[in-house]
């Protein structure tokens, strides 16, 4: 079963690497969205530094969401999903494998790009470790929650917009605690409580999402 799990993951990563653009798009969107803010708000370092954490988190969240629509859509359209559903690997494990692959090709690049954008946005240097930790805990949760949305909108017209409406409200706690962690580090307050809350959300998502998303996928296949 483990070999099947790894195979689903490996195949998704390989497809993402071959098709390049799809996963690159999320990072490019993240970069462009962050670059737009100094242009819109003005280049004063104080103003930017105050809102940098918010910009980074909101942009990362939107970038993660943008790439989610295709998570199950392609497999659904070409029949892969029904074949996987008929394989010995439980659909719940398939969901986890696909989300893990999605995180590797979108979440990880977002984390890697964030320090550079943080410099651009004049984020306080003290906040960098908190920024990386917050994004490392947030992005997997974003991918997981998004998987439920992506499974629910399968087969729907204008699935992308519907997905945003479904998923964005669920991203609010992530956003609040991630920004709080980064700001707390900047002001010299303890960061750990916020990170623990983010970790708690991640654990809850890991437990709940596979069942929910798998149930939604079964519904889509019937």
């Amino acid at each position: 079963m483990l070999s099947g799990f790894l195979e689903v993951m490996r195949r998704d990563v390989r497809l993402a690497v071959r098709q390049g653009m799809d996963s690159l798009m999320a990072v490019v969107f993240f970069v462009i969205a962050c670059v737009l803010f100094p242009l819109g708000v003005g280049p004063e370092p104080q103003t930017l530094a105050r809102i940098a954490s918010g910009i980074l988190c909101v942009a990362a969240l939107l970038a993660a969401m943008l790439s989610l629509e295709r998570l199950f859509q392609a497999d659904y359209e070409d029949g892969t999903l029904e074949q996987v559903a008929l394989s010995p690997l439980p659909l719940e494990a398939v969901v986890v494998a696909k989300v893990a692959a999605h995180w590797l090709v979108t979440g990880l690049p977002l984390i890697a790009a964030s320090p550079v954008l943080a410099i651009l946005l004049q984020l306080d240097a003290k906040s960098y470790p908190a920024l990386l930790a917050a994004l490392a805990l947030t992005t997997p949760t974003l991918s997981l929650i998004g998987a439920v949305g992506a499974a629910l909108v399968l087969g729907a017209r204008r699935g992308g917009v519907l997905l945003a409406l479904l998923v964005l409200p669920l991203y609010i706690p992530e956003l609040i605690f991630a920004v709080a962690a980064i700001d707390a580090a900047g002001f010299g307050y303890p960061v750990q409580p916020h990170l623990l809350l983010l970790a708690g959300l991640l654990v809850a998502a890991v437990v709940l999402v596979p069942w929910t998303a798998a149930a939604a996928l079964r519904q889509a296949l019937a």
């Binding site: 070999s3 099947g4 195979e7 689903v8 195949r11 390989r14 497809l15 071959r18 098709q19 359209e77 070409d78 029949g79 892969t80 029904e82 074949q83 996987v84 559903a85 008929l86 394989s87 010995p88 690997l89 439980p90 296949l221 019937a222």
Partner: protein, 211 residues
């Protein structure tokens, strides 16, 4: 032994068929014949467990498949209308994935290559699937049947887009599978006729199935 009793299927609040029963012994084949929309594909999806019957049961060796669906999907291979291929992956990469999923890691590539040879597309192994013709895509989809043994084959209009050579290869594999005690359920579209007289032909017609 695969059997159905008083099976009914409802799709989108429309009754497709009802009161359908059959029994299939090891080595047996069941050919589904009917006009478009008669419910052949729905019946195959019911057999695969992708759909739930509105009434009636499907049973394997007397045990309802709904009771142990995990076990049921381990014993079936389903080839539907969608070929489930990834255009960006090569022919062998496509098939190897399924080989690992069904038969485990050990020897997955060898099993995949043998299956490709059986359907006559061994020489295309490194070609990306996006360059395949419709018939070659179909051959690749059918190769999935052979990557790991499973007693029950569910084939939905498998001859679509196949040339004479591929149909002969498919018939040979079906024959071999049945001789080994496997079961085959195959849907053929209206114009096609089974090659040899079959023991069982199931004609689905809207609402009033006749066996």
């Amino acid at each position: 032994m695969f059997s159905a009793s008083a099976l009914a299927c409802v799709r989108g609040e429309r009754a497709v068929f009802a009161g359908l029963s059959f029994t299939l012994a090891p080595g047996g084949a069941l050919v589904l014949v009917g006009a478009n929309g008669a419910g052949k594909s729905s019946l195959l999806r019911l057999m695969a467990g992708l759909l739930k019957p509105a009434a009636g049961h499907l049973a394997w060796d007397g045990a309802d498949i709904a009771d142990d669906y995990e076990a049921h999907r381990r014993r079936l291979r389903y080839v539907g209308h969608a070929d489930a291929l990834k255009p960006a992956l090569s022919v062998l990469e496509n098939l190897r994935s399924w080989s690992v999923l069904w038969g485990g890691r050990g020897g997955a590539a060898e099993r995949a290559e043998a299956a490709l040879e059986a359907f006559g597309i061994g020489r295309l192994r490194d070609v990306p699937a996006r360059y395949l013709s419709a018939g070659q895509r179909r051959r690749l989809a059918l190769s999935r049947l052979l990557v790991a043994p499973a007693p029950l084959w569910l084939l939905d209009e498998p001859r679509t887009a196949l040339d004479v050579d591929a149909i002969a290869r498919l018939d040979r594999e079906v024959q071999r599978h049945r001789q080994a005690g496997g079961l085959v359920v195959m849907a053929l579209h209206g114009g096609e006729r089974p090659r040899r007289p079959r023991r069982s032909i199931l004609r689905t017609r809207r609402r009033r199935p006749v066996i």
